[in-house]
């Protein structure tokens, strides 16, 4: 893989932000937190929203509608990897199904078998949205992850995923205290001092690795001209332990079942190392 270049805290106004270069691919991710009301379907969880936007300067193909729809697809894949409880299974299957009928079935079944079983304490991968709850059913933190692709030199999905991880590590959420006054009304007190802020637990956030098929080989981290040679690509979300947390496919041609397995295995081999490298960099004192 090409070296990854990371910079944190590039947007002063955001709760957390990161800029990432892979080759000439340039991605900037900002995380915004705000107090909102939780969704009625999950009253004890925070909200999460992911958007991916493409700068029309990145590549001529992103002008007009294509950039929007492609951005939505990537956002769905990233959101699914961050919050499995909300739309994971559905999004992965929905995104894979129209692309290649038969193979998609295999991809979703692989997801189902390899995915760690959800435990009662919380989601088995991704962010623990339960921690974002302030007051059950009334207030919770809403987490908005906004990614902007400034330049496309291949491996955009991987870059957005890695930048999102870095931005989440950088994110500080202010501490709040809920006090109940005499009338029984809950009141929220926000402590704005930086020392009182807490960070998200990212240890279970998976990375999305794009494995592309070129000829009969599977390769990772393609540059833009190389991507045009690939017949199909599989975006696999893999967590730190090498477990598959979701898969999305893209590309013109379908993927054979045996190839699919090889691609998934490649992603599983690569992702834990990548995760460790990024975390080691983020935690190094030199940064």
């Amino acid at each position: 893989m090409r070296p990854i270049e990371l910079e944190l805290g590039v947007i002063a106004q955001a709760a957390g932000s990161a800029r990432l270069h892979i080759g000439a691919t340039d991605v900037i991710v900002g995380v915004k937190v705000e107090v909102a009301s939780p969704s009625p379907f999950a009253p004890t969880q925070g909200r999460l929203g992911v958007t991916v936007e493409f700068s029309p300067c990145a590549s001529p193909v992103y002008q007009g509608r294509f950039g929007e729809t492609y951005g939505e697809q990537i956002a769905a894949a990233i959101e699914a990897s961050l919050a499995p409880s909300t739309r994971a299974g559905g999004a992965a299957a929905a995104a894979a199904a129209p692309a290649n009928g038969g193979a998609a079935g295999a991809s979703t079944s692989a997801t189902a078998t390899a995915a760690p079983t959800p435990s009662a304490s919380g989601p088995s991968w991704g962010l623990d949205l339960g921690k974002l709850c302030i007051s059950a059913g009334k207030t919770a933190w809403a987490l908005y992850v906004d990614a902007l692709v400034l330049n496309d030199d291949g491996n955009v999905v991987g870059a957005v995923s890695a930048a999102t991880l870095a931005a989440l590590v950088d994110t500080r959420i202010p501490k709040v205290e809920v006090t109940t006054d005499a009338a029984g009304e809950e009141e929220i007190e926000l402590d704005d001092s930086p020392g009182a802020a807490w960070r998200l637990d990212v240890s279970r956030v998976p990375l999305v690795v794009t494995v592309a098929q070129v000829g009969s080989q599977c390769v990772v981290d393609l540059a833009a001209p190389e991507e045009r040679c690939s017949s199909s690509a599989l975006h696999v979300a893999v967590n730190r332990a090498g477990q598959v947390c979701g898969a999305t496919s893209s590309g013109r041609a379908g993927v054979e079942a045996s190839m699919l397995l090889a691609m998934t295995e490649t992603a599983q081999r690569l992702a834990p190392g990548l995760w460790e490298q990024i975390m080691r960099f983020l935690q190094s004192p030199a940064r």
Binding site: I4, E5, L6, C218, A223
Partner: protein, 328 residues
């Protein structure tokens, strides 16, 4: 691109403007020299000591002062003052060797994308048919145009003429021009490429074929035996009938795939050109070879050639070359 399975990923801090800082440090220049040769948009161009001047490209008179409208180098020719930009599109000139991609078939001509202002035209009457056979000018011939060059294929050609409206006509009337297959295409700013006597280079010792197109497209490919024969035939004064037979035989049997070692040499050569492009240094055979040899001598891995360590070594080499040139 990396082979699947290798799990060595480098993660490091993003330093904006690292390349410029590197060049400044190694060449030992701090802050661009504030001379009048380089100007930015809005900079005033001094016209002192001149009795009147002619306003050229990239300049404008604002409040009686000459001001640059583009970034670049100030050029003065007698009274004419103009600014030459550091980065511009390719300006075709007659006789230029170019590499282009076939964009479209239009009637009796191919439209070729040269990364210029407009697409160039390659007339059917301006191509050299394989085997050197005479073309019969009929409708069937025009229908068979796709059998020579299809859309999306890369070709090398020469600029035959540049018309007054800026349109460019190409020709491939030589054995050395034609379709390019099995190699790497690199994009270089055309300003970095100087026009030279030779733009085709066959490095037989390394087994590499190099075409430095004047339009900023550079082709690096493993040397194939049939291409070598064609190059020799062209050098020896036109392909004879025997050469034509060989051409046909070569076309019938696909050449053997290049060995891994040969491919590595090609990749290294391509990376050497990428390094030069990144450092905005002129791309010509000597500079490419110097960079290539520096990489071989330093035993720099293929993937590490774009790393800051090697970039620094290349800039250091350039600094040394300049200081020795100054002494002479």
């Amino acid at each position: 691109m990396a082979a699947a399975g290798a799990v060595a990923v480098k993660v490091r801090a993003l330093v904006p403007g690292a390349d410029v800082a590197l060049i400044e440090r190694v060449l030992n220049v701090h802050d661009a020299p504030s001379n009048t040769t380089f100007v930015c948009v809005g900079d005033e161009i001094s016209t002192e000591g001149q009795e009147g001047f002619l306003r050229g490209h990239g300049t404008q008179v604002v409040d009686g002062k000459l001001v640059a409208t583009v970034c670049g180098v100030v050029e003065r020719v007698n009274k004419l003052i103009y600014v030459k930009t550091l980065n511009s599109r390719y300006n075709a000139e007659q006789g230029d060797v170019v590499v282009g991609r076939v964009a479209d078939l239009a009637g009796k001509a191919w439209r070729v994308d040269l990364k210029s202002r407009q697409e160039a035209k390659l007339l059917l009457s301006a191509v050299h048919l394989p085997g050197g056979i005479q073309r019969r000018r009929n409708a069937e011939d025009e229908l068979n145009m796709r059998s020579f060059f299809r859309e999306g294929e890369l070709i090398s050609a020469e600029v035959q003429s540049v018309h007054a409206d800026g349109s460019v006509a190409l020709h491939t009337r030589s054995a050395k021009y034609g379709k390019l297959v099995c190699g790497q295409l690199l994009e270089v700013p055309p300003n970095l490429i100087k026009r030279q006597k030779q733009h085709f280079h066959t490095l037989e010792a390394l087994g590499v074929e190099l075409i430095i197109g004047c339009n900023g497209l550079v082709w690096v490919a493993p040397l194939r035996p049939d291409r070598l024969a064609a190059a020799n035939a062209a050098a020896g004064g036109g392909a004879g009938s025997a050469g034509a037979d060989e051409d046909e035989a070569a076309a019938a049997a696909p050449p053997p795939p290049p060995s891994r070692m040969q491919l590595e040499v090609v990749c290294r050569m391509a990376n050497a050109i990428r390094v030069l492009t990144r450092l905005y240094m002129p791309v010509y055979p000597a500079s490419i070879m110097a960079t290539y040899e520096a990489a071989v001598e330093g035993e720099v891995a293929l993937a590490d050639m774009m790393e800051p360590g090697f970039l620094e070594a290349v800039v250091g080499q350039e600094a040394q070359r300049r200081s020795s040139a100054m002494q002479e």
